[in-house]
C-alpha cells in the first residue's frame, strides 16, 4: 500500500513548496497576485500529479489475483453493471439508445431469436412461422403456456395488442414503428396463432421480430399505462427479468422472475435466470467506470474507451467485445454539395486515400475491425469488398492528377484557382471519432485534399445534414438486417444524402425487401453492396464495437445478434 502512496504525496508537497515560494513575502492576499501564483502552482501540480498517477494506475492494474473458475454455473447473487449514460426510458418499444436497449433486452422476450453466429432466425415465443410468397404476411404459431410477469397469458391477442401499440406510438417508437413499415393488421387465427399482414413486401420483418423493439409487453400494461409511465418502468414484460426500480441518473434494478419458463430455443438452460437480479448503475465518467471495476466496486462495465483498454492487460479482468452489425463508421458523401456534385474523382481518391488499418492501429484498437464494405462483417449477407478499399495513395494521387487537380504551394491541390477543400460533419457520440478523423485528415492531406473537421452536437449534425450544407457526413448505424441499405441508399426513401436517381440500385434494394427466398435475397444484397461501393456512395472506415469489461468472478454475459447484452445465462461466483 505504501509505495504507490509516496509518489502522489511527494508531488503534492512539491507543488505546495512552489506555491509558497511564489507567494509575496508581505501577506497581502489581494485577488490579483494570488491568482497569478495559483495558476503557476496549479500548472506545476497538474504536471507532478500526472507523473505520479502513472505508477498509481499500474499498481491498480496489478491488484488482481488469478483464480480457478468453478466449472458448473451457480445460482444466486446479483450483478452490478455500470452503464455510461442514463437510458432515459426503459420501455423497449420506445427507447432507441444503446443503454435503453441493453436494459430492454432483459425484460422482454421476442417472437423469434437470432443466432449471433449464423444470423439464423430461431424459435423463441413463436414455435414456428410461415411467410407468404412476397413476404407481405407472416403467420406465427406461439408456444403454449408462456406468460407475462403479471400472470397474463401470452397469446395471439397479446401479439396483436403489441404490434398495434407500437404503430400507435409512431415516432415515439422510432425503431419499432419503422420495422412495422406498411403494417395493415394482425389477424387472430386461433388462441395461439396470429397472422401479421402488410400492404407491401417486408422481408426484414422476420429479423425485426427478434429485436427487443418488437418484444412483447403485457396487454394489460399497454391498456392501463401511458407511454410516459412505461418509459419509467411501469409495465409487465415477457422477459426473464422485471424492472424493480428505475431512478433516472442512478440505477435500473431488475429482478429475476421465479415463474419464468420460456427461454429462447438458443439458450443453454431453461427456467428462471441464474442471477437473482441485476443492478445497472449509471456512471458517466469512463475513467471512474474502469477504476470502479478494477477496484472491485462493480462487476462489469460498458463502453471502455480505446485509451483505457491497456489498463486491462495482465489482469484477470476480461474485455468482452463484439462489432456492431449495420453500417460501419463512414464518410457519407453529399452528392448534391458543390464540392462533390461534379467531382466523382475526389470521392474515388478519398476511398483509397484513407489508410483504414492505420486508423484502427493508431487511434483505436484491434477490437474495432477495419471496414470491408457498406455493411459491417457481422451483418446478415455482408460482402467483403475490402480489396476495393485498399490503401493506395499513389493511385489516389494519379486519379486527382488526371482530373486536373495539381499540387498547389501548400501541398493542397488546386484546379482553375480552386483549392481542393471538403468538410465532414460529425458528433462526439463515440469518443474515438475526433481522433480517427484527425488522422484521416492527415492521410488525405498527403494526397493533396484539405479535409475540414466540423465537430457538432448530434442535433446540429442532423440539422446540417437535413439542410444539405456539408460534404461528408460521419456516422454509423446498428442493424442486423441488411434492409438498412434501403433506408440509407434508396432514392425512393428519405434519400438524406441526395443520391441522383439510380434505378439499378433502387430496384436491387426493393427486390431484396420483397425476396422471401434467403438465397435470392443474399444475391440481391451482394449486388447492391458492390454497386454502392463502385459508385462511391459510401466511404466506410471502421466498424463500431461494443467493448465491455468484466470481473473474473462473472461468467456467461453474452451478446445477442445486434451486439446488445443478454444476461439470461449470466452467473456470478459467490465471494
Amino acid at each position: 500500500m505504501l509505495p504507490p502512496l509516496r509518489a502522489p504525496l511527494r508531488a503534492l508537497a512539491r507543488a505546495f513548496v512552489t506555491a509558497t515560494r511564489g507567494a509575496p513575502r508581505a501577506a497581502s492576499p489581494g485577488r490579483a497576485p494570488a491568482t497569478h501564483t495559483a495558476h503557476a502552482s496549479a500548472r506545476a501540480l497538474r504536471r507532478y500529479t500526472a507523473l505520479a498517477l502513472v505508477p498509481l494506475l499500474a499498481a491498480t492494474a496489478c491488484g488482481a489475483q488469478s483464480r480457478a473458475a468453478p466449472s458448473e454455473p451457480l445460482d444466486g447473487g446479483t450483478l452490478t453493471f455500470a452503464l455510461a449514460a442514463d437510458p432515459a426510458c426503459v420501455d423497449p418499444h420506445q427507447v432507441g439508445n444503446n443503454q435503453g436497449l441493453n436494459v430492454g433486452r432483459q425484460v422482454v422476450d421476442s417472437l423469434t431469436d437470432q443466432d449471433p453466429e449464423t444470423g439464423e432466425i430461431v424459435p423463441w415465443l413463436a414455435e414456428s412461422w410461415e411467410t407468404d410468397e412476397d413476404a407481405s404476411s407472416y403467420t406465427f404459431r406461439l408456444r403454449e403456456g408462456a406468460s407475462f410477469s403479471d400472470g397474463v397469458p401470452l397469446d395471439a391477442e397479446a401479439v396483436r395488442a403489441n404490434f398495434e401499440a407500437v404503430v400507435e406510438l409512431g415516432a415515439l417508437s422510432g425503431l419499432g414503428s419503422s420495422y412495422l413499415g406498411e403494417y395493415e393488421e394482425t389477424e387472430i387465427v386461433d388462441e395461439y396463432t396470429a397472422t401479421v399482414h402488410f400492404s407491401a413486401p417486408n422481408t426484414q420483418f422476420l429479423q425485426a421480430t427478434s429485436t427487443m423493439s418488437l418484444g412483447l409487453v403485457s396487454p394489460a400494461s399497454l391498456a392501463s399505462t401511458t407511454p410516459e409511465e412505461r418509459c419509467q418502468g411501469e409495465f409487465a414484460g415477457s422477459g426473464p427479468f422485471t424492472v424493480e426500480d428505475y431512478t433516472p441518473d442512478q440505477h435500473v434494478i431488475l429482478t429475476g422472475r421465479d415463474d419464468y419458463d420460456q427461454a429462447s430455443s438458443r439458450s443453454s438452460h431453461t427456467g428462471p435466470t441464474r442471477l437473482d437480479g441485476v443492478e445497472f448503475r449509471i456512471m458517466p465518467e469512463a475513467g471512474v467506470r474502469t477504476g470502479a471495476l478494477l477496484s472491485g466496486q462493480v462487476d462489469a462495465i460498458a463502453d471502455i474507451p480505446p485509451q483505457d483498454e491497456a489498463r486491462f492487460a495482465d489482469t484477470d479482468f476480461t474485455i468482452l467485445t463484439r462489432p456492431n452489425p449495420g453500417v460501419p463508421f463512414n464518410l457519407h458523401p453529399n452528392l448534391a454539395s458543390p464540392a462533390l456534385a461534379d467531382a466523382p474523382e475526389v470521392i474515388e481518391a478519398v476511398q483509397i486515400g484513407i489508410d483504414r488499418q492505420e486508423v484502427v492501429d493508431t487511434v483505436l484498437s484491434d477490437r474495432y475491425p477495419v471496414a470491408t464494405g457498406p455493411l459491417a462483417a457481422v451483418t446478415d449477407h455482408a460482402s467483403d469488398l475490402g480489396d476495393r478499399l485498399a490503401h493506395d495513395p499513389a493511385a489516389a494521387a494519379a486519379i486527382l492528377e488526371d482530373a486536373g487537380w495539381v499540387e498547389g504551394g501548400d501541398g493542397i491541390r488546386e484546379r482553375d484557382g480552386e483549392r481542393l477543400e471538403v468538410d465532414v460533419v460529425f458528433a462526439a457520440l463515440f469518443n474515438g471519432n475526433e481522433n480517427a478523423l484527425e488522422l484521416i485528415q492527415q492521410q488525405l492531406r498527403a494526397i493533396g485534399i484539405d479535409l475540414e473537421l466540423r465537430l457538432l452536437t448530434p442535433a446540429e449534425q442532423t440539422a446540417v445534414v437535413d439542410a444539405g450544407a456539408y460534404d461528408f457526413d460521419w456516422y454509423n448505424t446498428t442493424r442486423t438486417d441488411p434492409d438498412i441499405l434501403r433506408t440509407l441508399f434508396s432514392t425512393r426513401y428519405t434519400n438524406r444524402t441526395n443520391l441522383a436517381e439510380d434505378d439499378t440500385l433502387d430496384a436491387l434494394l426493393d427486390d431484396q425487401a420483397a425476396a422471401s427466398d434467403p438465397e435470392a435475397r443474399a444475391a440481391l444484397v451482394h449486388d447492391a453492396q458492390a454497386h454502392i461501393i463502385e459508385n462511391g456512395y459510401i466511404i466506410p472506415v471502421f466498424e463500431f464495437a461494443q467493448v465491455h469489461g468484466v470481473a473474473p468472478h462473472v461468467h456467461g454475459i453474452a451478446f445477442e445478434a445486434s451486439s446488445r447484452l443478454s444476461l439470461y445465462e449470466a452467473w456470478v461466483e459467490a465471494d
Binding site: 500500500m1 511564489g22 491568482t35 495558476h39 433506408t487
Partner: protein
Amino acid sequence: MLRYAARRLLQSAVVLWAAYTLSFALLFLLPADAVTLMLSGGADEVFASPEQEAELRARWGFDQPPAVQYASLLGRALTGDLGASLTTGQPVTAAIAEALPATAQLAGTALVLSILLGGGFAVAASYTRSPRLARVLRALPPLGVAMPTFWVGLILIQVVSFQWGLLPALGDTTAAGLVLPAVTLSLPGAALIAQVLGTGLTTQLGLPYVATARAKGASRPRVHLGHALRNAAIPSLTLAGVLAGELLAGAIVVETVFSRPGIGRLTSTAVGAQDLPLVQGIVLLAAAVFVLANLVVDLLYPLVDPRVDLGPRTPSGAAP
C-alpha cells in the same frame, strides 16, 4: 421590516420571471430542438418520416409560434404546472423533487465544510505566530481556487477509493458515499472564504479599535474571535449567498464524476437533450435558491453587525 420583506418578495418574483424568460429565449435560439435531437438517436437506426416528426412536434406544442408557446408555458407555470420532461415523460416537478434531496444533502454538507475549512484557514493564518506557517496557510487558498473541481474529484477517487479502498467511488446516498463528493465540492468555496475572510481579518487587526481592546487587557483569542472576526465576517457572509449558486453549478461536475443522481445530473442531461420544460424547471429552482440564499444572508446581517438596519431608509442609501 415588513415593508422590507414585501419589497424583497416582489424583487424575487421579478428575478424568477426574468430567469424563466431568458432561458426560454436561449433555448429557442439554439439551432435544433428536442424533436430533432430525439430523432438523431445516437448510434441507432432511427429514421422518422416527416409526418412522424410533425406529429411529435404537435404533441409537445412545438408547432405553435414561440410567443404562443411562451404564454401557455408561463401560464401553466404560474399555476404550479411545469409540464412533463420530453425525454422521460416524467412530470418536471416530480423529476426535480426526486433529484433535489441528494443535491441538497451534497450542497448542504459542502457549504458547511466550506465555511469550516475556509474560516479555519483564515483564522489560523492570522492567529499563528509562525511566519512560515502563515505563508503556507495564505498560499493554499489561491491554489484551491485554481484547481478544477473535475480534476480534484478524479484524483480523490483515484487515490482514496481505487487505491486505498477507503470510500466508495459511487457517490450514492450513504454517508460514506457523501464524503468524497462533499469535500470536492467544498474546496473552491472554502478557498474563496479563506481569501476574503483572511483579507478582512488582516485589515481589521490593523485598525485602532483592536489596539484599544488589547490595551484594555482583552486576550488574543478574544480580540481575534470576538472583535476582529465579527467585523471581518460581513463580506464573507455576502459571499456565502453567492456560494449557494456556485454549489449548484459545481454539482453538475461533482455529480457526474461521482456518479451521483441529483439536480446537477438532471441539468446536464436536460440541457443536452434540449428538454425545454425540464430546463425551465431547473432554472426556476436555481433562481429560487439564489434569491432565497441572498434573502437569508441579508436577514442575517443585523445579527452579526448591530449597525446594519433593515428599515426602509438605510440600505437603499436614501439618506434622511
